[in-house]
């Protein structure tokens, strides 16, 4: 999917950008809705929901690629820099979290997981790790992106 900035008018580009953002948002919305339904549906219905969820994720990704192509080079750089440094800081925070879990008494980490998920099981532990792996770099990215813009307003 390629969007040429030079060939599109400012008005047309704004419409393109709005369409891509709407597509990304809709895709993410469907994906989250399907995730919330996980485990509550029966057999085939759950398989269909999974398919819809994966399709929505693919649509969201395709639309986000189109959207970033509508940005000028400075705005794109803000995202790249924020992802590199903010994401790296998020990963470093993940490392710190890992050390905490490894070095703290087993009961301390377990009680945290129990408070969070209500049940001590392999799936809960995996979900905690997966969420932390997504949320911490995303948080670092968001903060770095905001600082980038505030410093260059």
């Amino acid at each position: 999917m390629s969007v040429s900035r030079s060939e599109s008018t400012p008005n047309g580009r704004e419409k393109q950008k709005a369409a891509f953002i709407a597509g990304t948002g809709a895709g993410l919305g469907v994906m989250i809705a399907v995730s919330l339904l996980a485990g509550q549906l029966d057999g085939d219905l759950q398989m269909i929901a999974n398919g819809v969820g994966y399709s929505a994720a693919a649509i969201a990704l395709a639309c986000s690629i189109g959207w970033i192509a509508t940005l000028d080079e400075f705005a794109q750089r803000a995202h790249y820099v924020a992802w590199y440094w903010g994401g790296s800081l998020g990963l470093a925070a993940m490392g710190a979290l890992l050390l905490f879990v490894l070095l703290s008494p087993a009961s301390a980490a377990e009680s945290l997981l129990l408070d969070w998920w209500g049940a001590s099981q392999a799936k809960a532990g995996f979900l905690t790790g997966a969420l932390a792996a997504m949320l911490l770099p995303a948080l670092g990215y968001t903060i770095w992106w905001l600082v980038f813009w505030l410093r260059r307003r």
Partner: protein, 70 residues
Amino acid sequence: MKNRLKVLRAERNWSQADLAERLDVSRQSVNAIETGKYDPSLPLAFKIAGLFGLTIEQIFFNDEAAQAAE
């Protein structure tokens, strides 16, 4: 890297938004370039130079060159 973008823009009575529209970038991009907080890519630098009818070196220069000129 320093530049004469603000002066060149002022000579033509263009606002940052006017220049941004001519360059097909955001006003924030123009502001960041003018204040030296962002160095444009080579294609954008050529576009800026072409818009003002100058060469890139006549618009952009590094700090050492600026000090030497002074």
